[in-house]
């Protein structure tokens, strides 16, 4: 049963600290998405990769957030320095752009910045 995996599931950190979230997309998928979910804003797209190349990161605060795909099996989202307003659930999703736009979501990383 192929699934998107995310680590860690929960992260509590203090303001100013660096946070790194990891995602393993489903094998064979060529698109990866990072979303942030809050009660107020719902699901917001932060970044989007196709074939490991970043295509759109317009939803991401550039000064503190960065997203990379060092290889096809790993995507990372980094926040440095973290702020309390970054507290949210961060989801990774993967898909295959050649056969439509269905996305498969991971279980999310719940981030709390104190």
């Amino acid at each position: 049963d192929a699934r998107v995996t995310q680590t860690p599931r929960h992260k509590v950190t203090e303001m100013g600290q660096e946070v790194t979230m990891r995602c393993q997309p489903i094998l064979g998928h060529n698109t990866v998405f990072w979303y942030r979910q809050t009660m107020m804003q719902g699901l917001e797209l932060l970044a989007y990769f196709r074939n490991r190349a970043p295509l759109d990161d317009s939803g991401m605060p550039k000064d503190r957030f960065s997203a990379e795909m060092p290889d096809a099996t790993l995507a990372t989202l980094k926040i440095q320095p973290s702020e309390p307003r970054d507290s949210a659930v961060y989801f990774c999703a993967s898909g295959f752009s050649g056969i439509g736009d269905t996305q498969y979501f991971g279980p999310g990383t719940r981030l709390t910045v104190l």
Binding site: F33, G42, L43, D56, F91, G100, T102, Q103, P107, G108
Partner: protein, 111 residues
Amino acid sequence: TQLLEQSPQFLSIQEGENLTVYCNSSSVFSSLQWYRQEPGEGPVLLVTVVTGGEVKKLKRLTFQFGDARKDSSLHITAAQPGDTGLYLCAGGNLNTGKLIFGQGTTLQVKP
């Protein structure tokens, strides 16, 4: 900017009742997807509709894509407590693979 508006935002009903959730936009989408999300989990795909006017049924759930591919509805017949969750609609762009999500409808079905 493409936007999707979902209504209602919250719905609390008794077991056995019927309900409809709406998803509307002024933009045309290549597909419309419905996801269901439970607490502590990621959204899980329920259905994808791609043709204007298309109707899909999944047991007690009926999904419809508007003729102009700008809106969609989800109808649940005889709701059960197990249907409780957050329902999200998402409009797709086949060229980019990106999805635009609605704000979601939180459904509570009381026994």
